[in-house]
């Protein structure tokens, strides 16, 4: 008896360990979850930011809803559906009404044509390009200033998503909205909730090219400053390349630095002016970075600046540029600068106009970069193709500002204009028809340099809160400027003030084709009936029909037996 009890306990122990192993195996296997989506594409989220406490942009990131196209049946409840809208079929009034009426959506997915893809060229016809660009610009303006309590994403059209969208349109045309019971496509983006970007840094890069001090001259040499802001702001921070605003300005500044470094490398041709190159950040946010950069200057240095030229969007003009000033046009310094530019412009067949915009000290809005100089009593002007001062967060290099719309020749002509004007001022050749940077010479503007830097800038998103202190692009700009100047300094500041940003700018979208619950139920019914039919068939063929009937009569017969 004892032996059997022990062996029984041993058996039970073995059984228990086996059960635990099997259950562990089940748990392990249950954790296996492979990705088997119909399509997985890269998507970029709409920017999320707070300005002076008000919330703007898309406030959510995670997505897990069914998809619908624009052909959804009218009156359908879309609060748990994602609308997929290709840019070509966009009706801006529809989106505007939806946002203004604060209707709830599961999410929005905008499909952008391939020409806006930074890695892509695109040879579309000019007319269609301009139309798409304008539509996209308007959409961006609408989305940036709206508060959307659902995720909004941008994606580029490709074959996979085009087939999915065509399928969704077909399903929608039958009149049934896609929900859990009717099947369709499910869009899933599994990202965590977006968090605030803590202490976003803005980095100003300055390069200093010393002039030639005459022997015995103890005075500080005068300085000419040339500045361009390098960061952007757009609807999708991961796609804000800003080729024109302000990629063109950066490229022009680098090329001017290169030309003057060639001139200044030879003591015989070194001018009696210092040259200060500034690549500032924080441009879209009222030129916050420029202000901090100027405030960090020594008083003597600030007083030694003769004038500062700020470059802003000089990449897509044809024959007219504007010089924007904040001091009145009859000011002596402004007259001198403007006439210098005008002389060179006439020779280069460029029309240059002067625009005056007064500064309102009490208004925190800074529309042009030179206004920060003027506020600290330094003469400044902005050279730009934009005729009117842009609003806050306008012309800051958004989605629509892509490489196609920038013209290298425009930048080259702009470089020639600025460089010649500087050279005439530095070497005292005002009014004389001397071409220092003539084509074909050793100091000619290098179009390959312009093009390669422009291509690089058109592939690099540069929204300041998402650029870290040691971002490789910032380091690349620093290195390039160091090649052309004597001394390069970086200044790191915190972007404070009215803006707060949130992270989570890009994600991967999984598209699953799902079957409806009704389908599964129908399948269960079909399979159940198939198994029952199979059972009956087998019973009949092997045991005979009587046995089948007796299966159902068994309780009855048992009652008869017991009775």
């Amino acid at each position: 008896m004892m032996l059997s009890k022990n062996s029984g306990r041993g058996h039970r122990g073995l059984q228990e360990s086996m059960y635990s192993v099997i259950s562990l195996l089940f748990i392990l296997v249950a954790c296996v979850e492979l990705c088997d989506a119909a399509a997985a594409i890269d998507v970029y989220r709409l920017i999320q930011y707070d300005m002076s406490g008000s919330a703007f942009g898309s406030r959510f990131a995670a997505l897990n809803h069914h998809a619908a196209s624009l052909h959804f049946p009218p009156g359908a409840d879309l609060s748990r559906t994602v609308l997929i809208i290709p840019l070509r079929e966009l009706n801006i009034t529809f989106v505007r009404d939806y946002i203004n009426q604060k209707k709830l959506l599961g999410g929005l997915l905008f499909l952008l044509p391939e020409i806006f893809n930074p890695g892509n060229g695109g040879n579309k016809q000019v007319h269609e390009r301009e139309k798409l660009k304008n539509v996209l610009a308007e959409l961006e303006r609408l989305l940036i200033h709206a508060n959307l309590p659902y995720p909004v994403y941008f994606a580029f059209e490709n074959n996979e998503i085009d087939t999915v969208l065509a399928d969704i349109k077909k399903n929608d045309a039958t009149g049934q909205p896609a929900t859990a019971t009717t099947g369709g496509y499910k869009l899933v983006i599994p990202t965590p909730e977006p968090k605030k970007v803590a202490s976003p840094t803005i980095t100003n890069i300055q390069g200093w090219l010393s002039g030639l001090k005459a022997d015995g001259d103890m005075n500080q040499l005068p300085t000419i400053a040339i500045v361009a802001s390098y960061d952007t702001f757009g609807a999708a921070p991961a796609l804000s390349m800003g080729s024109d605003s302000n990629g063109s300005g950066i490229v022009a500044l680098l090329e001017i630095a290169r030309l003057f470094s060639l001139l200044y490398s030879n003591p015989k041709t070194r001018g009696r002016y210092n040259l200060l190159f500034g690549l500032t950040s924080g441009g879209p946010y009222n030129y916050n970075g420029t202000q901090k950069w100027l405030r960090s200057f020594d008083q003597r240095l600030r007083e030694s600046i003769d004038y500062a030229i700020c470059l802003n969007s000089i990449g897509s003009w044809y024959n007219e540029l504007w010089i924007h000033v904040s001091k009145p046009p009859d000011n002596a310094y402004i007259k001198q600068i403007f006439e210098g530019f005008l002389n060179v412009a006439e020779e280069l067949d460029i029309k240059v106009g002067l625009k005056h915009k007064k500064i309102n000290i009490s208004n925190p809005r800074v529309a042009w970069e030179h206004e920060q100089f003027s506020r600290l009593r330094v003469t400044g002007a902005t050279l730009s193709q934009i005729p009117v001062a842009p609003e806050l967060l306008e012309s800051t290099g958004g989605l629509f500002d892509s490489r196609q719309f920038v013209n290298e020749t425009a930048i080259t002509r702009g470089v020639k204009l600025v460089a010649e004007s500087f050279a005439r001022h530095i070497y005292g050749h005002q009014g004389k028809n001397v071409k220092i940077f003539a084509d074909g010479g050793s100091l000619a503007v290098n179009p390959a340099y312009v093009q390669s830097w422009l291509d690089l800038l058109s592939r690099t998103p540069r929204v300041a809160p998402f650029l870290s202190k040691n971002d490789p692009f910032v380091m690349a700009l620093k290195k390039e400027l160091a090649d052309h100047t004597d001394e390069v300094n970086l200044q790191h500041e915190i972007l404070e003030g009215m803006f707060t940003f949130y992270d989570s700018t890009s994600a991967t979208l999984n598209i699953y084709q799902v079957a409806s619950v009704a389908f599964d139920l129908v399948l269960l019914l079909v399979l159940g009936s198939y198994l029952i039919v199979l059972f009956c068939f087998l019973v009949i063929t092997t045991r005979g029909l009587d046995d089948l009937i007796s299966l159902f009569r068994r309780p009855h017969s048992r009652k008869v037996k017991t009775a």
Binding site: D36, Y512, L531, L534, C536, V539
Partner: protein, 228 residues
């Protein structure tokens, strides 16, 4: 919802085996042990086949139909037949009649085949959100396989276990057995050489399994008549 789909495909793939066992007279004569032994023999056969395939077969770059490789696969497929022979003749069964023996062996064989080849893909794949028809087609294939295994076991028992067969039927029996044994090669030729899609292949398998089952049933009952 996707566990629901997994459940549906699971009952399509494994349900018929259970139904077959309970519906026919197999359950009355308690032939469960025979089925289990047949399943274990199948496991051993598959391992031997794997080793042979790994040793003799080369991995081809393209997914086309290479006649020599396929011939080698057919030869290795005959290991299947050897395994079935072992299960039918060499194992010691309880004293059960021939009808039940081949049915139990065929059932165990088919069940082991389904579990080994179809359970893992089903568990991993059918649980996901994405819906495909593949797992339902796989279940139908499992059904066809069940019928084919039982027919092959029937023909095998006719060849090896029954001593007195009508002389005229012997070549027919061998021909049918040959066709059923080379079914895997035929389906792979259809898929790779002719480029048929999965639904068409499954349809072909279902059709041929029913046809072969009918033939083997006729042959079995024809061989049974003289001894009865």
């Amino acid at each position: 919802m996707t566990m629901f789909h997994f459940f549906n495909c699971a009952i399509l793939t494994f349900g018929p085996h259970a139904v077959y066992y309970s519906a026919t007279t197999l359950s009355e004569y308690d032939t469960f042990g025979t089925s289990v032994k047949a399943a274990l023999v199948y496991l051993g056969t598959v391992l031997v086949k794997l080793v042979c395939l790994a040793t003799f077969l080369q991995v081809s770059e393209n997914d086309g139909f290479d006649p020599y490789q396929e011939l080698l696969k057919v030869l290795i497929g005959f290991i299947d037949v050897a395994g079935l022979y072992f299960a039918l003749t060499q194992l010691t069964h309880r004293n059960i009649s021939q009808i039940h023996k081949f049915q139990a062996v065929g059932l165990g064989w088919a069940f082991a085949d389904s579990v080994l080849h179809r359970l893992a893909p089903l568990w991993v794949g059918a649980k996901g959100l994405e819906f495909t028809w593949d797992y339902i087609l796989q279940g139908l294939e499992a059904n066809a396989n069940l019928v084919l295994s039982i027919s092959l076991a029937a023909l095998g028992s006719l060849i090896w276990l029954r001593k007195n067969k009508p002389k005229t039927l012997i070549p027919v029996i061998y021909a049918c057995a040959g066709i059923v044994a080379t079914m895997p090669s035929i389906t792979s030729y259809l898929r790779r050489g002719l480029g048929w899609h999965f639904p068409e292949v499954v349809g072909f398998e279902l059709f041929t399994s029913l046809v072969m089952a009918f033939f083997s049933w006729q042959l079995f009952s024809a061989c049974q008549r003289p001894s009865a």
